[in-house]
Amino acid sequence: MTPPPERVKRTLVTGVIGSDTHIVGNRILSMALEDAGYHVVTLGALTPAEDFIKAAIETAADGIMVSSLYGQGELDCRGFRDLCVEAGLQDILLYVGGNLVVGKQDWGDVEQRFLKMGFDRAFPPGTRANEVIQLLDEDFSKRNSGVGAAGQ
């Protein structure tokens, strides 16, 4: 199956943020994104927020996919969008997913917190890769038609 051409020219940066070594889920996601036709730049485990930004600049990435599985995601991701804005990446698509917080918390609350931080989407544990790919397609096509950029 040939991937849709609009995916082929998109670059996504993936990695596990902070002092987190849980690489497996992130690797599965990266492989699925690549199979779907995206150009994927993998940063792997233990990636500081700044390194996502630097990689995105150098590769002219269209989106950053942040994984966090050890419960410290909220701390690590604070100010992530601000860093992007500071680096001239104000329009970059930001996704975050994994075990983002400690303990049993209502997913709706957690999602809202990450959206408020400037992430375009947040995903709970157990999300399937094809669900992510479908939403990427939607978000990118919205941007192409100018809907996402409205008001900027």
Partner: protein, 480 residues
Amino acid sequence: MSNPAALLIDFGSTYTKLRAVDLGDGTLLGAGQGPSTVTSDITLGMQTALDNLEERLGALPDFKYRLASSSAAGGLKMVTVGLVKELTAEAARLAALGAGARLVDTFSYTLTKRDIDSVTANEPDIILLAGGTDGGNSDVILHNAEMLAATELTCPFIVAGNRSVVDDVEIILRDAGKDVRVTDNVMPALGSLETEPARAAIRNVFIERIVHAKGLDRAHDFFDQLLMPTPAAVLEAAKLLSEGTQDREGFGPLLLVDIGGATTDVYSVADGEPTEGRILQQGLPEPYLKRTVEGDLGMRHNAGAIVETAGRNVVARHAGTTEDEIEALLEEISRDIDHLPGGANERAFDAALARSAIQIAVTRHAGTVEIVHTVNGPVAAQRGKDLSRVKTVIGTGGALVYGDTPASILSGCLYSGDEPASLRPRDPKQLLDKNYVLYAAGLLAEAEPEVAFDFALESLVPVNGMPGKEEEHELRITSG
């Protein structure tokens, strides 16, 4: 009938140095030295050096090769430009250093009018323009090309950036009348370092353009080829000694330290992979052939900076003196930077300076390992090269070769419990280049690898087995 010989010339910033090698058995036939006269008439210093050599040898042999390197006329002055400081800008910097350049400026992100003024004022010999991985960011390198195109700069440009736009970058510069060479991206994909093509391009431009531009070719009657900047020749020697040749077994991974009047250069030939258990590698991979230059650590031009960085108390302790005395000695050096150490206290101070310079320079060159605490327990994360298992360290430079206590000076490069994170060599064999021949071996490496290897080997002695005082004076050939 004597064996054919090779003449190996270094047009240094202070001296014109010669080494004559017997191509039959790789022994040093003799050395000659003259002043550096590049700024007036390069042939004068060369002739003096040749006369000096002839005097020592009785008669000059037939030279099958006459090869030269140069660090005169300010060295190979380069400016590098990249995008992100830690990524393509760093890759460009490493490529230029590996080619033996003296970096006068390094830039990241978009060049401003101010940056351009600084570039122009520095009068670089070559500008290396990088930025963007292949298919990555193209705006910045295009902007920077436009900015550079609008200048009066006449130096050659080497473009080693995002493959997708190198054609456009080339056109922008060429249309402005610039000399442009395009080579492979120094970072084709994020985190992959490809500095060899840029290094080769720099070397070609050096031979084709720079030798002439600097007036070095006025001495062309004296040499067949001026091959490379001197630091590149030293790096070639390090590579040769590490890898060996078809018939000579090499030393394996090695570290080489060259301590000079203005800078301290460190070279490593090693992949630098983690040597212990499960260690995560972070940051940019580093080149197998790596050279770093510490412009703030020179024995004469910035002795004060060495003392400041190492700590006055540390230098005083190593020199066996007081901090006040250190202050007085520093003042003396700043009054006369050509001053060579005379009295015992001056010599001890020089040794302490050299030891500190080496320690700081090798610490900056080597990688680090630190323990990161995660919810799964501690994890070791390495940045840069692990040189802890490097088996050979070679020291060169006047302060080491002619100092009273080379073993103590060179020990500055070793692993220390005070800085457990620094991956410096733990238990290497320590050697000195007693005849100061490494540049010469590097020059000869391509044409006669076996002879060059034996020639370098002959000069290497264990750091504790240096010749005695009188013999040393015979060998005294000052560094440039």
